[in-house]
Symmetry: C2
Subunit: 189 residues, 2 copies
């Protein structure tokens, strides 16, 4: 029991440090201190620092899935896909450091992570398929169309987070605008 809550406290402490100062600020010593244990107690719950970060990412993936569900009541199939992507954008802009952690260059390593990501994105493919059936999105391989939507959304977030968006003159489009633009173009077809 105590071990479970300690493990959870470690993940929470790591998430707090991540939010406050980025992944470099997540030090096992500070994580342990905030969780009320010694600086090497984490090794009894995680293989190493990367495993702890993977646990943080796994928890956040569940959070992201929830954020994509927010306010999607009483929407058409096509609107639901767009709303989910806007929820994705909102989550990422709200927790930029969690976003960069979850989609860092090591997602493949952890099996649990890949699994949870697969679940989250299979929901998107489902929604895209429904929108295609409803005639709100163009025909074609749903997985491929979902990948396109996903790529645009992801890229819009990255551009927004790195400041490559607001810097580009008076157009001052934000990530939401880019996602909306994509859906507008897709629906015209």
């Amino acid at each position: 029991m105590s071990s479970v809550s300690t493990r959870d406290a470690l993940i929470t402490a790591a998430t707090d440090l991540l939010d406050a100062g980025g992944v470099d600020a997540v030090t096992l010593r500070e994580v342990g201190h905030r969780a009320g244990v010694s600086h090497n107690a984490p090794y009894k719950h995680f293989a190493d620092k990367q495993a702890l970060l993977a646990a943080v990412a796994a928890r956040e993936l569940a959070d992201l899935t929830e954020a994509m569900r927010f306010g999607t009541e009483q929407l058409s199939a096509g609107e639901l896909v767009e709303a989910a992507m806007l929820g994705y954008v909102a989550w990422a802009l709200r927790h930029p450091n969690r976003f960069t952690l979850v989609f860092g260059p090591w997602t493949t390593d952890c099996a649990e992570l890949g699994e949870r990501a697969g679940v989250a994105w299979s929901l998107i493919v489902q929604a895209v398929t429904a929108a295609q059936v409803a005639g709100e999105l163009p025909a074609g391989d749903p997985e491929r169309l979902a990948a396109l939507i996903r790529a645009t959304t992801h890229g819009a977030i990255v551009l927004a987070l790195t400041g490559h968006l607001s810097a580009s003159g008076k157009g001052h489009a934000n990530a939401d605008d880019l996602v909306h633009d994509l859906f507008t173009r897709l629906r015209v077809t």
Copy 2:
């Protein structure tokens, strides 16, 4: 003179280490050793480690601009934009660690970096504008359309690098396919 070549050697050594083992493998001690100087000689050329990494990123941005120009002879305005994006994809997949460094969460910090990125992407806006004039891309704010294209390309690369693309079943679309899909949808309009 010697200082210039030392500075250059430091950047080259850092780039090699980046390619080999990611940004974490870039240690000032190993950089100095590979450049034939002591482990703290870099501080005579760069304020700190981040400044060295920023110099690496700045050099790579020039490389990226070149990659986007590759093989763009005898193409229509619309094809030129797509070819530039495919060049961007090819560069990123060829040097994944440089890609994640250049578009890391700190691009805003360095003035030179922001400047060079601005130059690179203003070329894209120019090409997009030309394609619009030629009727190969839909009308609208060129900066905003360029941002959409840019976001999709960037997102497709990230998805490919993190393995979120090939894992999604039989569709097995790669980054090139997604970029091509976007241009296909845009041209239909």
